[in-house]
Structure formats: C-alpha cells, structure tokens
C-alpha cells in the first residue's frame, strides 16, 4: 500500500514518467484484486457455492442447448431469464437515471452522498442482467449483427432496446469513471472524466426513458397473448413510470443493507442525512406511484377491463393493484407524514415486490394464460439467476471495499475483516 501512495503522490507532482505510472498502476490493481478479510464466511460459502454450481449449469446450457436447463417451449419462448432478469432487473436499475436527474440536472445537493453507489448499482445491474441475456440467446455470437450493421432490424423495438442497453452501459460507466480514476490515483483523468459526465448524464436519462419504456413496448406485439388486464397501448408509459418507483425502492432497499454491511465505509454526510434522504426518496416514489395509479385507472376504463375482474386472473390483478400499488402508496404517505424512515424502508420492500409481480404478470404469468400446459421456471433457471445475482453482489462488494463510493470513506483505514462488511443477499431476498 505504501508503494502505491508514494506513486500516487509522485504522479500528482508529475515527476514520474508515464511508464512508471503504468507500472505502479498495474502493481496497485493486482494488489487490489486479492480478497480482503476472512474467506470462509457464511455469505461467501453460500454464494460461492451457488456461483460455482451455476457456472456448471451455464456450461451445460452452452453444450446442449437451452432445453437442457430451462422449461422453455415452443409455446413459451420467453421465461424468467427475460421476465425476471431483464424486464424486472432493468427496472430496478432505474434508480440511477432518476437520481442523476435529481442531482446533476436539478442540482439537489441532498442526494449527492448516495449518487455514486446508485450509479454503481445501476451499472452493475446492466452488466450482469443484460449480460445474462446472452445466456438466453440461442445464438449469442450473432448478438453483434444488429450492432455492426450487417442486419439492422429498424422496425424492431428489440433493436432499439439492444442499442440503448449498450449505449447506456457506456454512459453509466462514464458517470462512474471519476470514482475509478480516484481509486487509481489519476487526478488528471478524473478531471477529464468529470467534464464528460454532464453529457453522459443527459444522454443517459434520454436512453433510459426510451429503453425502460421499450421493454414494455416489446409486449405491444403480443395483443392476444398478454392477459387483457395487463395488455394496453400504454404499457410503454407504465413501464417507464414504474421504473421510477422501482428504481427508487431499490435505492432504499440497497441503503438498508449497506447501512448494515458497510457501516464504517459510509461517510459522515451520508450518516447524518440518511433518514432525510430516505424520506426524500419516499416522496419521489409516491409521486410516480400516483402517476402509475392514474395510468392504470385510465386503462381500466378505456379498455373496459372490468369485465375480466370476476375471473381467477382478475383476483390476481386485484391482489397486485390493491396489495402492491395502493397499499404502498398509502404507507409512503403515512411515512412521510410521520417522518418515519423505517416505514419508508419497509414500504420500499413492498413496492419492489409489487414491481416484480407486475413485470412477471406481463411477461410470464399473464403471458398465454389460456394454455393448458403452463410454463413455470425450472430449478436450474432459478439457480442460474441466483448465481448471476451472487456474482453481482461479489463485484459490488469488491468495488465498495476499494473505491471511494461512499464519499469520505477514502481516508478510512483499509484493513478490515470481511465479517462486518458482508453483503446481505438483498436482491435474493426480494426474489
């Protein structure tokens, strides 16, 4: 460690050659790749086991085809790898663009302490969940076709979504890159990257608007297959609006676990402002929830959806709307009135569950609800999804423990046991 700080100091003064900087950087990165703290913690053992066995299943999938691990069929071409990993996971990554708008465009200082961790979360969610899409593609090596341009499917919503995923990942990386530059002790690079970030933020918000709604627009092409209670011409708008409260809820849930797992990495700013930030996020979520309720109401009347209410799918629909849209809205309002950060956090879990329910209802549960033989995910499909979430948590922890994600934590002594830094399986818990 001493070496690298010297190197950093030297490089700031400009006394080292580029070669020396490069050598020191490589040495520094290699030293950082080593795990910190105890290896055999319950979290490590469990998630490590899931990842290793998941990798075996992924190998089976590539050797024998999708049918070897999944329950997909000619009738159900899309399962939970699309319905949960992509359609739901990307909604939860929505916190990044919402907070970028609040902090970088509206310049609201209050949320600055959590912007880095939110962008990190969003970026990792895209890399891992959109990356998991490659597992679902039958011919993943052809994924470059719509990108290199030998076959542009310009009339396809999926084309738009694919391009936006790619560009948005680059944007989010740019938004996060100043943190990486700080970690590498590259002050000059950091300044250049920060200069790019406003452009990246603006472009990123635009891309997010379009691909969050685009994920919903995918299902516009299945008017007879998605259950009428969930099918509507407004799906794109509803997916966009729900990504706002989905993203905000995930930020609140994430803060619940990071407060516990990384309590000594969190700076004074964030500690002091934590409750007030949570209440602010709750207010944002409640606004989006109201918009969502009105959209649902308009659909309900416009598409005459009430005729489906007195059916099993209708009861399921009411369960979703009352229990996971109306109830969270009421609870958020109550929490804001009483200024209860705890209730906000609890409601965030409920809201997130509702988003999962809704996205699965559109993409899996309500999709071809009329078939006699229904799709349900295989154990291996769920297992691989868990493995991907576990991998993401490992990378998340790795970054949190090394890079100055929580502001002031940079100065804090680095050597810690991993025990109190464990990431609780927060994403698994909402599954």
């Amino acid at each position: 460690m001493a070496n690298t700080t010297d190197a950093a100091a030297a490089s700031t003064e400009g006394t080292m050659t580029f070669r020396q900087v490069a050598r020191e950087t490589i040495r520094f990165v290699l030293s950082e790749l080593k795990p910190k703290g105890k290896m055999l913690t319950p979290f490590n053992v469990i998630t490590g086991g899931i990842i290793l066995s998941g990798l075996v299943m992924i190998a089976i999938r590539f050797a024998y085809g999708l049918g070897a691990v999944s329950n997909l069929s000619q009738n159900y071409p899309w399962g939970i790898w699309i319905g949960f990993d992509v359609v739901t996971g990307v909604a939860f990554a929505g916190g990044a663009y919402v907070l970028c708008f609040v902090v970088h465009i509206l310049k609201i200082k209050k949320f600055e302490p959590i912007i880095r961790v939110t962008v990190l979360n969003g970026f990792l969610a895209y890399v891992f969940y959109a990356g998991a899409l490659l597992l679902d593609l039958g011919r993943p090596w052809n994924v470059i076709n719509p990108i290199i341009g030998n076959a542009f499917g310009l009339s396809s919503v999926l084309f738009l979504v694919a391009w936006h995923f790619l560009l948005y990942m680059i944007c989010e990386f740019l938004e996060f890159s100043p943190v990486v530059a700080e970690w590498l002790h590259w002050p000059r690079a950091r300044r250049i990257l920060e200069g790019l970030s406003t452009g990246a933020v603006i472009f990123g918000i635009t891309l997010s608007t379009l691909h969050q709604s685009g994920l919903g627009a995918l299902f516009l092409l299945a008017p007879t297959k998605v259950h009428p209670l969930w099918y509507s011409g407004n799906i794109p708008v509803m997916f966009f609006v729900s990504s706002i409260f989905a993203g905000l809820s995930m930020v609140m849930i994430e803060s619940f676990f990071t407060q516990k797992a990384f309590k000594d990495r969190i700076g004074h700013d964030l500690h002091a402002a934590h409750d007030s930030i949570l209440l602010g996020l709750g207010k944002g979520a409640v606004g989006a929830l109201f918009a969502y309720i009105f959209l649902k109401l308009i659909d309900f009347v416009h598409y005459k959806q009430w005729i489906y209410l007195d059916t099993p799918m209708g009861y399921w629909y009411l369960f979703e709307i009352v229990g996971f849209v109306l109830l969270p809205t009421a609870l958020f309002l109550q929490a804001i009135r009483k200024r209860s950060a705890k209730l906000v956090q609890f409601t965030a879990f409920l809201t997130a569950a509702g988003v999962i329910l809704n996205r699965l209802n559109v993409s899996v549960i309500g999709f071809k609800w009329y078939e006699t033989v229904r799709y349900y995910p295989s154990v291996m499909e769920i297992w691989i999804t868990l493995a991907i979430i576990s991998m993401e948590l490992w990378v998340f922890r790795w970054v949190i423990l090394r890079m100055p994600v929580f502001g002031e934590a940079h100065e804090v002594v680095e050597e810690k046991t991993a025990e109190d830094m464990e990431v609780v399986t927060w994403k698994a818990s909402v599954l």
Partner: protein, 305 residues
C-alpha cells in the same frame, strides 16, 4: 442563458445515429394490402377445408422439398389424426382432423403452417432482419443473421416459428412458402401435389375472387368468411371454412390491425424523445445552474453587508 454550441453538438451527434434509425423505421409502416412495396402482386394460397381429404400428401411433399428429417410414423399412417398436432422444427405443415357437426361421417381436415402475413409481426419484431418478407409473398428466414432471441415467436399471432431448444447452435424453423421454387417459377411443393385442389396456389387477388365465388355459389357449404382476408391486416394464406373457425383450430379474435402498426406509434416517439429530452434537460440544467450561482452571489452579498 445560452446553450453552448459544443455541448449541444456533443449530445446531438451521439443521438443522431439512433435518430436516423428511428426515422427509417417509420418508412416501413403502411403498405397496400395485397401488393408489396414495389407494387408486385403477392402470391397466395387458398385452402378449401371442404375439399381436403386428409391424405397428407402435402406434408410428405413439404418434407421432401425442404429436406426435413423423416418422421417416425409414415405419412400414410392415419392414427396421427387421433390427436391435434402442431408444427415442429421438422414439420412445417401438419393436417389435423376436426369433427363435422353437419355431416358426422365426413370430418373436416385443416392444414396448419405459416400464414405469410402481408405485414408479418415476426419480421417487424426481428432486430437483425433474420425474418424477411419477400416482395412475392414468402416470409423467409436468414439463418446466418439470427441471434436466437425468439422475439419472433413471442410476436407471431399464429404461434408458428419453432426453435431448436436442444441444440447448442439452434435455428428457427417454419414454412418458407417454398421460396426457392417460387423464384424458379414453380409452385410450392404442397399445392403441386394436392390431389383434390384443396390447396390452390396463385395471385392472392385471384384467389380471393375464387373464394368469394365459391361462397356465393354454395352458401350452405361454407362459413361466410374467408379466414386470412382481414386477420392481422391480411395473410398470404386464405382459408375457406366448412365450420366456424373456433371449431377448426384456427386462432379466433385476432385483430385486423397489421402487427407492425402496434409498435410504430412507440417507434415514432423515439426520435421525438431524442430531440426533446436532451434539449429540455440541457435547458433545465443551465437554468438551475444560473439560479444557484445567483443564490450564492446574493448570499455572499448579505455576509459582506
């Protein structure tokens, strides 16, 4: 308050590529129902379910013409009719038997295969143009482009594309209207071999006239509707029905909207968002930056006083 030209160009330049993409997408929208964009008249197929005798010669001819794997039971086995079959990766067309309520001793046979929609959902869904509507009528599949996302299967209103789930290098399979034979001036293998004329190949406009004439001359024999004339904006394959469509395993309640139109509204919005969002966001950003600077100035004035 000015927007710096450089900043604007930065965003606009990056947005431009995708903007073009959005604009071009809209061009593929509406087209006349029975002809392709170039004015070429679509070919079609007329299936008269009252003429089909369930000999499955079409299945066999299809199997040979497309070099598909031979099935376990031969094409002359009648026991296959005991259950309703679906097309598979190795069988592009299947004949199914349905009871005839008017004449119980003469069951109705109905073929199932790709309908070759005038404006196919699969082709508009595919992000790498692996599914393509030719100007003659066929919806063909380009193996080399496909990435196996199966969005075509999600989009197809007739549930036709079939995916090889048990292959590490899978393809999508479906009837391609014997496109190669059509290009050579021949008719598809199934209609060529049909002994009763239940499967009739020709220009779609002519086929519609034949179908309407048959309904007009024998009104008791047919349901007074040509299946495929208006479904999802019109399909290349037309069905004359001896019983209502729900009794013949045909999809009911399909909209008459061509499927590409279901997403075109959304796609038209893309360039709009790409122009509006960055300009509004940049404007908002400058507005707030300015007001924050003003606040600071006022604050420091106060301190000095």
């Amino acid at each position: 308050m000015t927007i710096s030209r450089r900043n604007f160009l930065k965003v606009a330049g990056a947005a431009g590529g995708v903007l073009l993409a959005g604009g071009a997408a809209s061009a593929q929208g509406a087209q006349a129902p029975e002809t392709s964009a170039g004015g070429v008249e679509f070919n079609g197929m007329l299936i008269d379910t009252t003429k089909c005798i369930g000999c499955r010669a079409c299945e066999e001819a299809c199997n040979e013409a497309n070099k598909l794997p031979k099935p376990k039971v031969s094409f002359s086995t009648e026991s296959v009719f005991e259950e309703t079959r679906d097309t598979t990766t190795g069988a592009f067309t299947v004949v199914n038997r349905f009871p005839n309520e008017k004449k119980p001793d003469a069951p109705i046979f109905v073929r199932k295969q790709c309908m070759h929609c005038n404006q196919p959902a699969c082709a508009s869904a595919c992000l790498c143009r692996a599914m393509e509507k030719t100007k003659e009528a066929a919806v063909i599949y380009h193996k080399d482009r496909c990435m196996g996302c199966r969005y075509c299967m999600v989009a197809c209103p007739f549930d036709i594309p079939r995916f090889e789930y048990n292959s590490p290098t899978p393809f999508v399979w479906k009837c391609i209207f014997c496109n190669e034979r059509q290009k050579k001036g021949e008719q598809p293998a199934c209609s060529e071999v049909c002994p009763t004329g239940a499967t009739l190949f020709g220009k779609k406009r002519d086929l519609l006239e034949i179908a309407k004439t048959r309904i007009y001359t024998e009104p008791d024999k047919y349901v007074h509707k040509i299946y495929g004339e208006h479904e999802v904006g019109g399909t290349g394959w037309l069905f004359l029905m001896g019983a209502p469509e729900e009794k013949l395993g045909l999809k009911t309640n399909l909209p008459t909207t061509p499927y590409p139109e279901l997403t075109s509204g959304f796609l038209y919005g893309v360039p709009l968002v790409f122009v509006l969002w960055p300009s509004l966001l940049i404007g908002l950003n400058y507005l707030i930056k300015d007001s924050k600077v003003d606040e600071k100035k006022e604050g420091s004035h106060g301190e000095h006083d």
